[in-house]
Point group: C2
Chain length 207, copies 2
Amino acid sequence: MHVAIPLYHRFTALDAVGPYTVLAYAPGWTVTFVAAEPGPVTDDRGSLVLTATASYDDLPRPDVVVVPGGPGTMDVLSDQALIEWIGQAHEHTRWTTSVCSGSLLLGAAGLLRGMRATSHWAILDLLRKFDAEPVSDRVVIEGKVVTAAGVSSGIDMALTLLARATDVETAQAVQLAIEYDPQPPFNAGSPKTAPEGTAERALSIIT
Amino acid sequence: MHVAIPLYHRFTALDAVGPYTVLAYAPGWTVTFVAAEPGPVTDDRGSLVLTATASYDDLPRPDVVVVPGGPGTMDVLSDQALIEWIGQAHEHTRWTTSVCSGSLLLGAAGLLRGMRATSHWAILDLLRKFDAEPVSDRVVIEGKVVTAAGVSSGIDMALTLLARATDVETAQAVQLAIEYDPQPPFNAGSPKTAPEGTAERALSIIT
């Protein structure tokens, strides 16, 4: 199974590297980071540089697409090369997926019309612009389209995807290989549970 | 606060990028990936290339060190430049930390003698070679030395560290910013809970 993860300026690193690590550990799976042209791509903090090793043209028909999000998403909603690549790749994928604001890019490619989808809690309602129905679940599956909530949710999404694409035993083996037995020190990872004032502080970080 | 994350050939991407994302989102914190020389470093799957933007010499006194693990750890246990940098940086750090087999590198630098420490479940007992006491906790804090269990545990470690280094409210804001409300699809992330046979399959993935 060949997975492509498109990178763009000001993507959020964990959006891409969470699912990458899960899927690249799956036996027989390979993952390639792609961009308009191969080369370095800088993240949203300006301090992490990941290399895209292939261009969109090099990889027109991946089996799986994982579109990461990040503050840079808003800038690439009008990036025709990226949006067209997503739309054309989707015609042949087995799974088309996103993490965080990456779902807006699936929307811009016209893939979410009339469908349930999720995204980062802070921008969930923007999905309506693409005729999608926002759902505040961690992972939303609609046929072969799988959207995940903010940033770290890509790990849960990739494990869920892997179980469906292969089998439960393989997904569990990867989960144990990456010791994914999460023990967050606080119950603050969702706007539903975070203490009062946390959402405002979080928004000041990500905007 | 300035964080340095050393990279080496065949590191595990999520070991580095989990804590990176948490700490780089903290207001006023910056994170730099370092190596013997600046340049691209390839991960354990051979498909992810992260750029080290500074050399060890460029950054001798970071406030925080986060040493990632990966299959490549065994090769760099005898890398004097890396081990000496860790040892010398530690003399001035506020926190010296590791994820996964990165704790073996702290051990090789002589930082774990007589101390409790953790690592990936598959290699936990190797800590004894460095006179450390292996503990199968997700995050182990001994003074200013913080070790984390396998791969994904770096996220929990970094949030725990951030709360101690700043305050609980800041760590909670970052947790919400990255929507870290984990919902693993299986209860297989620890050898204590994974179904029979999962450990053998996981070991065949990571070795």
